[in-house]
Structure formats: C-alpha cells, structure tokens
C-alpha cells in the first residue's frame, strides 16, 4: 500500500489550492478526484469572481478568508501565469432606502479589511458605467473585485502541484476511510492508500466523506445557481461587475463577465435536494433576465448563447474548516459556498496552519518551482504575437475551432497538460465554447484526442465514463 503524509479528497479549487500550497514542503501528497478531471465539480460552474470581501457578515470566517484570498490570488495568479483581471464591482442602489443601506455595507466591509471602498453618485455612474440603468442613484464601488477563469485556475493549481511532486489521481472515488492509528486507510475503487492526515475538500459530498470517518456533525445542502452567457460581440457591455443589494441568501442577480470576455448574467439561488441536479429551468431564465434588466436594460434574451447551473455546497451560514478531534488527523474543509473560489488560497494557508498545530512538521523543500510555464491562447494575444508563434510551431496556424479561434497546437497542449475529455479541452482552450457549440470542431477534436491519447474515437467522452459521444462506429477504431 502506498503511504503518504497527506491525502486530499476532492480536486476542486479548494483541494488543488491546498495541494499546491503544501507541495512547497517536504511532504508526500496525494489528491483523489472521483471525476475524470479536476475542476469538474462546483469549481467549474460559478461566476469566476474574485470577490473583494464585501457582502459578508463582519465576524465571519468566509469574510476574513475572502479578503485574504483576494490578495493571495493576485500573487498566485502571477506565479502561475493565470489571467487575473481587476474589474472592480459596483453594488447598485435604486432608492434612497437602498442608498442608505450602502453605508452599512461599506462599514461592514471596512471592518473586514476590504480596501479602497467608495460610495459613488449618479453622476459618477453615468460617466463610468454608461449602460447601467438610469434608475440607479448610487453605488458602493469596490475596485479590488477581479475575474478569473475558474477551471483554468484549478487546472493550473493542479499542474503546479504536480510539478512539485504532489500526485493527483483522477477517476478515483474515495469509498471508505478506516482509522488504523497512527494512520488512515483510504479505500477507493482502485485499491487502498495510507495517509497520516486526511483533508476533506469534497465540495458537495463533504458530508458523505466526513461521515466515512465517523464525523456527522453537518449536512451539505446544495443551493443551485443558474447562469447565462451572452455573445462575445457584447464584450465591454459593462466596465465593472454589477451587483444589486444582497439578500439574505445570495448576492442577487449580477451582470458580470467571464475572463474570456463574454458578459454573464445570474446566478439564481434556489435550495435543491439533489446533488446532481445541474439543470437549468425556464423560471431561472426568467428570473435572471428580470434581475439583469434591472441593472442593464439593454440586455436582450436573444444574446444568450450558453447557460449552465452550479450548486453551492452550503452547510449553514459559514465555512467549516477544522481539525476533527474525534478523528485525530482528519481535517474538514466543508461548506465552501461562495466566495470559495476567492478564498481558496487563504483556506490553503489556514489548513497548513492546522496541520502544523497538529504536529506535522512543515519543512520547506530545497527546490520549489513556484512558476508555471504559460500556454498561449490565440484569442487572447495580438496578431503579431500569433505570427511569431506560427513561425515557431506551424500548428498554431491550424485552426480547429472557428468561433473562438483555437488552433490544433492549443488543443494538443491542453491534452499534454491533462485534458482527457471533450469538456476538459473546452475548459482549457474554449474550443466548443462559442456560438456554434462545437458543431464545427467536434469531429476534429475527437480525432486529435484519440491520436494523442491512443484511445479509439468510440471511447472519447464529454466528461468521463458514461458520457461517450457516439454509440458505435463502422470504422475499425
């Protein structure tokens, strides 16, 4: 049986951020992810906002970690060559009563340490956010809000953790955890692994995983959020990320954008029972359009080109991050709802602290590779740079995806860096993510994936076993 110092369960942003943070120490680390690739859980379907820390209760753990996370994410994104764009957010008031609430929001956020907040008036809004509704009378401006591509973030955290010696095992589901002091035995469908410490970062399934080691003191309740993306033609629709005033359970319907430039509207917030219910609904669509119209009246439903739903793993009001004394060595990182994407690097530091407090020696490695080599995306670079790249490697000029301008080279590189599925290619490169939704490029992508992995085209899946694209073939593969 393989023995490790640390076993992390869950390859979302939280698990991979922890793996990357711990990989700077002389530790043996393994991460288990039940899906075909990392980032296929909650971390792939969210708003991608690196929140400044506003809209959190002043004494909350999530508020504190969000503010820290906002700072840490910038540094980490530079190290890993991930695009982080500071966009700034506006929490918009439409009445005198709402404008009054902005003052309290500002105070609460300042108490958490959110920097550079400012209340702006109608004149400022007209000038700096021209497409915002004329009904808006004031807003709380938080310049430190940013955007990131959530899945590419997870992929890059994972890649760098692997460069530094962590093992990431995808397609392995943890089924049982046995306490065999002084270590745990972690049972998967492909055998058992031993570890001194177990970190539960299983997202929606964190309650089930916790129960495997006998800790049943919380339940995860999924809270669904539906999001709708608009055509990239509308890039620049808003300059800032626009929020209404928050409600008790969510930040409301926002008008934001993805790191690739598509405006995005949503999310809803609906408690559901089923942890696999990622369906979008017509009610959700209506609600989101209504909310988005209130902020930006010019948004047209015909501009929607894609949609998805995500489930927030909610366990009460706040994050649960603690060592479970009844199962020594077992650390829960659960209930990581929003702003979990933002907080992840701060959560990772906190977990390192908990490990240290529980007797793990954290000794730095002699060599820690903190940087990651950047890959290029043609859609994101100037034409002159594209020309140079094609000179170096001809296949940068071999365009596979017509809507998003993705080359065969980028697809092959995505596969080399870990993509094993069509969704994995999409999240990494954007091929299939444009207006035609893969009608044009699917067959070519299947071929490249089959070639690079040695699989038959019949074995090519959308996102892992059971999601094969085609049923049978007449061809010999």
């Amino acid at each position: 049986m393989n023995l490790y110092d640390i076993a992390i369960i869950g390859g979302g942003v939280v698990g991979t951020a922890i793996a990357r943070e711990l990989s700077r120490y002389r530790l043996t680390i393994v991460l288990f992810e039940k899906e075909a690739e990392v980032a296929f859980g909650v971390s792939k379907s969210n708003s991608g906002i690196i929140h400044p820390g506003t809209q959190n209760p002043p004494a909350s753990l999530k508020g504190k970690l969000c503010v820290q996370g906002n700072i840490l994410t910038r540094r980490l994104a530079r190290e890993l060559a991930v695009d982080f764009k500071e966009a700034g957010e506006l929490i918009v008031a439409f009445s005198e009563e709402e404008a009054g609430r902005l003052i309290q929001l500002k105070k609460d956020a300042e108490a958490l340490g959110v920097p550079r907040l400012k209340i702006v008036d109608k004149k400022w809004l007209r000038k700096n956010e021209p497409n915002l509704s004329g009904e808006a009378i004031a807003a709380l401006y938080a310049p430190t809000a940013g955007i990131i591509s959530p899945y590419r973030w997870v992929y890059d955290l994972a890649e760098n953790a692997i460069q530094n010696g962590a093992e990431i095992r995808t397609g392995l589901e943890v089924k049982k955890i046995l306490a065999k002091k002084p270590r745990f035995e972690i049972v998967t469908q492909k055998g058992a692994f031993g570890a001194r410490f177990v970190i539960n970062a299983a997202g929606l399934y964190a309650d089930d995983v916790s129960a495997m080691s006998g800790i049943k003191n919380f339940k995860i309740k999924p809270r669904k959020g539906e999001e709708f993306l608009l055509d990239k033609k509308l890039e620049g629709l808003t300059k800032h990320l626009l929020f209404p005033l928050p409600s008790n359970i969510s930040k409301g319907i926002l008008v934001t954008r993805t790191s690739d430039g598509n405006p995005m509207i949503g999310p809803t917030a609906e408690d559901v029972d089923d942890k696999t219910d990622l369906s979008t609904t017509s009610e959700g669509f209506r609600k989101v359009l209504e909310g988005a119209h209130k902020l930006v009246p010019s948004i047209n439903e015909n501009d929607v080109i894609a949609y998805f739903a995500g489930l927030r793993p909610v366990a009460g009001e706040d994050f649960i991050i603690r060592h479970e004394d009844e199962a020594p060595g077992f650390i829960n990182v659960a209930g990581i709802q929003s702003p979990g994407l933002t907080a992840a690097p701060a959560i990772a530091l906190m977990v390192a602290g908990i490990l240290r407090d529980h007797g793990l020696l954290l000794k730095k490695k002699a060599v820690f590779r903190k940087h990651r080599k950047k890959e290029y995306h043609l859609f994101a670079i100037p034409i002159a740079k594209t020309k140079k790249l094609i000179k170096k490697d001809a296949s940068y000029g071999d365009i596979v995806c017509r809507c998003e301008m993705v080359s065969a080279k980028e697809v092959r590189e995505a596969i080399a860096r870990g993509a094993t599925t069509m969704d994995g290619i999409k999240f990494r490169t954007r091929a299939q993510a444009g207006r035609c939704h893969g009608s044009f490029c699917t067959t070519r992508l299947m071929k490249i994936l089959a070639q690079e992995t040695g699989l038959s085209r019949l074995a090519v899946t959308k996102r892992g076993k059971g999601s094969e694209l085609v049923k049978t073939g007449r061809v010999s593969d």
């Binding site: 365009i399 009608s439 059971g466 999601s467 007449r474």
Partner: protein, 325 residues
C-alpha cells in the same frame, strides 16, 4: 501584404460558383480561401440525392454536385485555391488576415466575395431547459459524424425541430438501424421541404408531433429522455399534456443562420434578427466592393439557386473591379 483583384472566402457551392463566374467575366487574379481541407463545403456530408434538379436537370448527391464545380475550378489555373486557410480578421479597407498551418498572411483585394455559408441554431439559442449531458447534437454535426466519420451518435433519437437537415437525418438514422422516436415541431407545420417530409419521415413511419415543444432534456452523463408537451397558439405549453420520450440522443434542427461575423467586423451593416447583411440588391452589402453570396447572404432552400445567385455575385464583383480602373 499581398494585393489581389478578388478574394473569395469560402469554397462551398457559393464560393466555387462565384469564383468561376468572376473568372469568366474577365477577372484573372483570384484567390479563394477555404478553411477546411477540401472544397465543396457542406455538400460533402450531404450524401443523399436531390441536388441539381433545377441547374443540371439531373438528380445528384451533394458530393456529385460539388464535384462538377471542383473539377471546373481546378482547371482554371489563374484561380489560386488555398485550403486550411482560416480568415480571422477583416478590416474596413477589405484587408484580410488569415492563418494557415505554418503561416499568417494579410491580403488586400480590390473586391471581396464572402461565401461563408451558415451555421445551425443551437439548443441554447432557443433556450431549451434541462441538463447538458453527452448526446445532444446539431443535426448537421450528426450528419457529419455518420456520413464523413463513420460514427453513429446514438440509437434512440428525438429530433427537435423539423428543419430539412433534421428530416434528412431522421431517415439517415433509421437506415443506420437507430430508432427515431419522434420529431417535435413547435409550429403547426414543418419548416422543411414537403418532399423531405414525405420521403424521409412519412415513408418510414416516424412520428412527427406538430404544435409540441420539448420542455426539458434529462440525463446526467448521457441523454436519458425528453419531456414534451402540446402548445397553444402562443407557444405556451398546455397543462396536462406533458409526456416523456426515452432516448439517448437529441438532435437539434431549429433553423440556420448566415455566418457573417467577419463582415460585421469590417463595419458591414447586419440585420440583427436574420444575421444577413442589410442589402438593396442581391449579394450587395452596405460597403461597396464587399459582396456576400450563398447561405451567408440568406438561407436558401436549394443549392441550385445558390449557384445561380453566386454566379451573379461573381459577375457583380468583376464589374465592380473593372469600374475601378
């Protein structure tokens, strides 16, 4: 920067006809750019018959129809054909940037004919709720998978919309041994050609549900079923009429839209609703010297009419170029 008299973007039936016609009308310096590795465009995957009845007074398959033009153009040495050439940018002065394995090029033609065809509307454009499992295809992609790649997408199929490609694919799937469990059309009548309804659907006993819509797609990894209901005149579902159809595949055939993002980049005025160029005369756009023909001008029912109008585009471009001298 290379200068040319005429550049044609697109090597499908429209681009081929336009290029040949421009040559026949006296233009000798022609570059044709095609992003695929072969000429013929969508006709290559249309292996059924029904092409050429008007133009050649013969019944041909798609590839046969295309082949007649491909043979002809290959004999015209002054038309340069550049395959795997992908135009990524178009400027107001008609300067084009295109990529090809191994190179990035810019070219400025005196006249430009865009023959970039159309694309299928997606499930997202008509907002069909539900999950996003494997097994949802545009009808055209399913056609390419079967006819070009030799792969069968699924065994139990529901088709959303009764566009021509959807109807043709109903027959194609049936011939391949799959079961087409129904075609769901929200309108009271088909939007496809009558001959396709008869030959591809009725002759095979495939159920077609008019005034019905798909409410939801179900399934987590792979499509499992769709929920369907009858609709009233306002397209709203009628309570109590909902039923499920189990299937592993959903084809979406809800219409085509002209592909005109490039000319939009160059400032050509586009009708937001149809995605066609705003135009006073067939093939013309709001920018002099930029012509659009074939399905990127408007969605045609028959390739024969595409050929005729595209030949006219070639002539118009030739006259435009001669007028500049």
């Amino acid at each position: 920067m290379i200068k040319r008299d005429l550049v044609i973007v697109g090597g499908g039936p429209a681009g081929l006809a336009a290029a040949i016609s421009a040559y026949e009308n006296g233009i000798k310096d022609i570059l044709l750019l095609e992003r695929d590795q072969y000429l013929g465009g969508l006709l290559n995957q249309c292996i059924h018959t029904g092409f050429g009845i008007e133009y050649f007074k013969e019944v041909l398959t798609g590839p046969e129809y295309a082949d007649r033009f491909i043979r002809k153009i290959k004999n015209i040495t002054s038309i340069e054909i550049s395959l795997r050439s992908f135009v990524v940018r178009l400027e107001k002065d008609k300067t084009l940037t295109y990529l090809k394995p191994g190179g990035l090029f810019t070219v400025r033609p005196r006249a430009l004919i865009m023959a970039t065809g159309c694309r299928e509307k997606t499930r997202e454009m008509v907002h069909i709720p539900g999950t996003r499992p494997a097994g949802i295809f545009s009808a055209g992609l399913a056609q390419k998978l079967i006819n070009i790649e030799g792969l069968l997408p699924g065994k139990e199929v529901v088709i959303i919309g009764s566009g021509d490609i959807g109807l043709i694919m109903a027959r194609r799937f049936t011939l391949e041994g799959a079961e087409v469990k129904g075609i769901i059309e929200i309108q009271p009548t088909t939007r496809g050609l009558l001959r396709n309804v008869v030959q591809c659907v009725e002759d095979f006993g495939i159920p077609i549900y008019f005034n019905h819509k798909v409410l939801r797609i179900h399934g987590s990894d792979r499509v499992e079923k769709v929920s369907v209901a009858k609709v009233d005149e306002k397209m709203n579902e009628i309570a109590g009429t909902e039923f499920d159809i189990e299937c592993d595949t959903v084809l979406v055939s809800v219409g085509l839209i002209p592909e005109n993002e490039l000319i939009e980049m160059a400032g050509v005025i586009i009708d937001k609703r149809t995605n066609s160029p705003v135009s006073t005369e067939v093939n013309k756009t709001s920018v002099p010297g930029i012509f659009v023909c074939g399905n990127s001008y408007k969605v045609y029912d028959y390739v024969d009419s595409v050929t005729v109008d595209s030949q006219l585009a070639g002539k118009m471009a030739a006259e435009y170029i001669k007028g500049l001298d």
